[in-house]
């Protein structure tokens, strides 16, 4: 595709499709960026640290701590990419990647380590007395014959905090123990989003950890943030159709200077600085580009932001039937009068019938089982939740429940509700039913 001869043949539709492909891959974080944005010092620190293990055979342990979507994995990926470019490293270093979500106990983790070190046939049918013995054997097996020197191993533990929940923290204890005593050169890199992760470690594990932490707390300023948006959206220079590429990039620059877009981005920036939520926004905008309008417009971004910021509970409330809405209002009144105490179906029904008898002319009286069915639908939607889960012995209508909606949410939903009967609206507004 990149050959010059073909590029002239690219039609507009193909260009759009190609641009989409590139941008989608970037926004789904399938491609590592050239250089991590705003994380230069952390990058250098981590690279230096891992180099020492990979090249000089020093053991190390480090934790990368940062909120979700801050770019922990991306940072590590970039560092590893540069590290693996060194010739002596590529041949020598072994990598073991573990994830706390996948390796949910130490036995599975050990199996995975064996597999990733390609030592299944060495281990064979051997029976080990303890976990430590097993791990020691694995590391021993890595010692290359002639130099009497082990190959360095990088252990990467994603979702590090989950490993702390394993029984006795055996895996962590042994890995950190190896990294601390000069048995074999290993580097243990943990990635986590919990700031208090050290509190989770047992004393004997904690004392073996080097207490090196790299924090990713994203000190970006707003101008940098907008620049990042621009660079994320612009197409690379080697795009096969230079004219389309120029036009696209120009439209992106123009977009970033637009007043309403800036306001939108500022709102996003103020609510969360992390890149993943930004990428979701940009993704939603990019997918709206089609051959019929081949550049990114501000309306795309505005629409995307509208989609993202929609309140999902309000959306669900919008689709309730009038009867269900009445029950929600009755619960709201109960919450107001009894100061948030839990209620049961009987009370809600009582409140509802009081309303029907006194005020309503548009809503008919419903049989109690019909109301019960509506109530159970609300329970199913988890708008209402039982206070205690032990439900066996209590009759359904007397089970204590709590409303999982705010006062404001109910009122707002009521305003948006299509063809809401006026007396229901008035009932909701009255302070005491």
């Amino acid at each position: 595709m990149t050959s010059k001869r073909k590029s002239t043949a690219l039609t507009e539709a193909q260009c759009v499709s190609l641009a989409q492909k590139i941008l989608r891959e970037r926004l789904c974080q399938q491609r590592l960026p050239e250089q991590p944005v705003g994380l230069e010092s952390q990058y250098r620190h981590l690279l230096e640290l891992l180099k020492r293990t990979a090249v000089h055979g020093e053991s190390n342990s480090v934790l990368i701590v940062g909120p979700r979507g801050a770019g922990k994995t991306m940072l590590l990926g970039c560092v590893l990419r540069e590290l693996m470019n060194l010739k002596e490293v590529l041949k020598n270093v072994l990598q073991v990647e573990l994830n706390g979500l996948l390796q949910t106990d130490d036995k599975i983790a050990l199996k995975e380590i064996t597999r990733q070190l390609h030592l299944e046939n060495v281990v064979g049918d051997k029976v080990f007395g303890s976990f430590a013995e097993n791990l020691a054997f694995l590391l021993e097996a890595l010692k290359s014959g002639d130099k009497s020197r082990s190959r360095p191993v990088l252990f990467i533990l994603d979702e590090f905090d989950l490993f702390a929940h394993h029984k006795n923290q055996t895996l962590l204890y042994n890995l950190l123990d190896v990294s601390q005593s000069a048995q074999a050169p290993v580097a243990v890199v943990g990635l986590t989003c919990r700031l208090d992760v050290l509190e989770l470690l047992e004393k004997r594990v904690k004392s073996r950890f080097s207490h090196r932490q790299i924090h990713l707390l994203n000190p970006l300023s707003f101008t940098q943030y907008v620049e990042a948006v621009g660079s994320q959206l612009s197409l690379p220079q080697d795009f096969p159709h230079p004219k389309f590429c120029d036009e696209w990039n120009r439209s992106v620059t123009k977009l970033c200077e637009d007043k309403s877009v800036e306001e939108l981005l500022r709102r996003q920036f103020n609510s969360s600085k992390d890149f993943r939520s930004l990428y979701m926004l940009l993704f939603l905008a990019v997918i709206r580009v089609s051959p019929s309008h081949s550049t990114l417009r501000e309306s795309d971004l505005l629409e995307a932001s509208r989609l993202i910021s929609a309140d999902s509970k309000a959306n669900i409330l919008h689709g309730l039937s009038v009867l269900e809405l009445c029950l929600i209002i009755a619960m709201k009144h109960l919450n107001d009068t009894y100061d948030g105490e839990p209620f049961n179906f009987q009370m809600v029904h009582n409140e509802f019938t009081k309303f029907i008898q006194r005020k309503s002319h548009t809503i008919h009286k419903f049989e109690k089982p019909v109301v019960m069915k509506a109530f159970e639908h609300l329970v199913e939607l988890e708008m209402v939740r039982a206070v205690d889960s032990a439900t066996g012995k209590v009759q359904r209508e007397y089970q204590l429940m709590r409303l999982m909606l705010e006062h404001g949410q109910v009122m707002e939903a009521l305003q948006k509700y299509p063809q809401c009967p006026t007396d229901v609206k008035q009932w909701a507004l009255s302070a005491f039913a």
Partner: protein, 440 residues
């Protein structure tokens, strides 16, 4: 509806088959992108029951012949079944067979990676999980791992979750990869009329059926917006609606007459078929021989349960003990209780009705004391009385509080409704309301 990368005639036939969901289909298609492009790692689709979530996603996948697995989480009692289905659909039976006996997530991801490196995805693969709220009850790590599956297996795969519960209820304590949220709005009344009118009866005009649907919605719309439920009711009651036409009592244009005929019938349906009190078969039969039995069975049908004479009184006594404060017993069951007014002898918190708060537990002695005073003949406390109490417990009309091993002074609670007790007391000529403190 047009979307790059997909054949146009298939898109057109999709649009015909999915009425009132055009915007959703278009958005879904643009989210998915062209088959070879990446899609967002996980998409969470939520909306009310029967708003076409599964139907739209399933039809799109099937018609456009994309690689997909459609798994209903209700069917997956263990994650192993889920893994099996996914591997089977994407990589064939060999891959699925190589799963170990109790596969962990780690095994699944390893196998997936292994297979996808052999046959990399040329088109986005889709894993669709219907009723995704069930995944929360499985392994704690299953949902977070599925949400970032694209990253874990480094393959072009997208997980689509379908649920009627909002995303806020899914988020684990320490957070996870946030999926892209996509809402399927409910059908409004016009949409419902349009969709329901599509399955009109061949021997009647579509206009008649549409007006029938309007009448039906007039009764049910304020209670129920579930398309599936409405469609069921529409199909069930249509013969009744047509009855005057067949007999020649009315013409198709006499909408008002037809309305007068069907309206009470639909009201009755709401109290029976809608609540599943009677099955649709029974409902049809009832329509046939309506002339003979004027009172509809249904709600009242299960309020009748035949009990021994003393058991009935025991149940009534248990109900009174559960719903009356103990200190009022003197007022109800003593002949000369003096003048005690309702307001005087009660503490403040007892003033709210007991029928709102539910039954209170009571000891066996109190039950027996009340029983002796309400039953009209002299009864000896024999073993038969006690065994009747036990059988009431095993019928779940009473519940025992505390452990079974508590032999002296066990406590009970009455677990039947007011209507039930009134029906029972009518059979033994006992006025229960007179003895209830709440109705004084």
């Amino acid at each position: 509806m047009q979307c790059a990368g997909y054949p146009e005639d298939k898109l057109r036939s999709l649009a015909d088959r999915l009425p009132c969901r055009e915007t959703q289909v278009t958005t879904l298609l643009s989210l998915m992108g062209e088959p070879d492009q990446y899609s967002y790692p996980s998409i969470f689709i939520y909306g009310h029951r029967a708003t076409g979530k599964s139907h739209v996603v399933f039809s799109v996948m099937k018609d456009l012949e994309l690689p997909y697995t459609f798994v209903d989480c209700v069917e997956c009692v263990s994650p192993a079944l889920l893994f099996h289905r996914v591997l089977l659909a994407f990589f064939g039976p060999d891959a699925a067979a190589s799963l170990p006996r109790c596969p962990s997530l780690s095994d699944f991801v390893r196998l997936y990676k292994q297979m996808s490196s052999k046959t990399p995805a040329t088109q986005t693969r889709f894993i669709i999980l219907d009723r995704a709220e069930r995944t929360r009850d499985m392994d704690f790590s299953l949902l977070p791992a599925l949400l970032r599956l694209q990253e874990l297996v480094s393959d072009n795969v997208t997980v689509i979750l379908l649920s009627q519960v909002v995303w806020e209820k899914f988020r684990p304590n320490t957070g996870c990869f946030e999926p892209l949220l996509f809402h399927f709005p409910d059908y409004n009344k016009a949409d419902l009329v349009q969709i329901l009118s599509r399955d009109h009866h061949p021997s009647y005009t579509p206009e008649l059926y549409a007006s029938y649907i309007n009448i039906l919605l007039g009764v049910f719309f304020s209670v129920c917006r579930d398309l599936r439920e409405l469609r069921h009711l529409a199909a069930l009651n249509f013969p009744k609606f047509c009855e005057p036409l067949e007999k020649g009592e009315a013409k198709e244009s006499d909408i008002h007459k037809l309305w007068r005929n069907i309206e009470p019938h639909l009201q009755r349906a709401m109290q029976t078929v809608y609540l599943r009190e009677v099955s649709s078969m029974q409902w049809k039969e009832q329509q046939m021989d309506e002339k003979e039995t004027t009172t509809p069975r249904g709600l009242s049908a299960h309020a009748h349960i035949e009990l021994p004479y003393y058991s009935k009184f025991l149940l009534i006594a248990a109900y009174l003990a559960s719903f009356n404060p103990a200190r009022t017993d003197r007022r109800f069951f003593l002949k000369s209780h003096g003048k005690i007014k309702k307001t005087n002898f009660l503490k403040k918190h007892e003033k709210t009705s007991n029928h709102l708060l539910g039954p209170k537990p009571f000891p066996l002695d109190r039950l027996l004391a009340i029983f002796y005073s309400v039953v009209d003949s002299r009864v000896a406390p024999t073993a038969s009385i006690f065994s009747q109490i036990m059988s009431l417990v095993s019928l779940q009309l009473l519940t025992q509080i505390g452990h079974d091993d508590q032999l002296d002074a066990p406590k009970y609670k009455c677990a039947v409704s007011m209507d039930f007790i009134l029906a029972i007391s009518r059979t033994v000529n006992f006025d229960a309301v007179k003895y209830l403190y709440d109705f004084l």
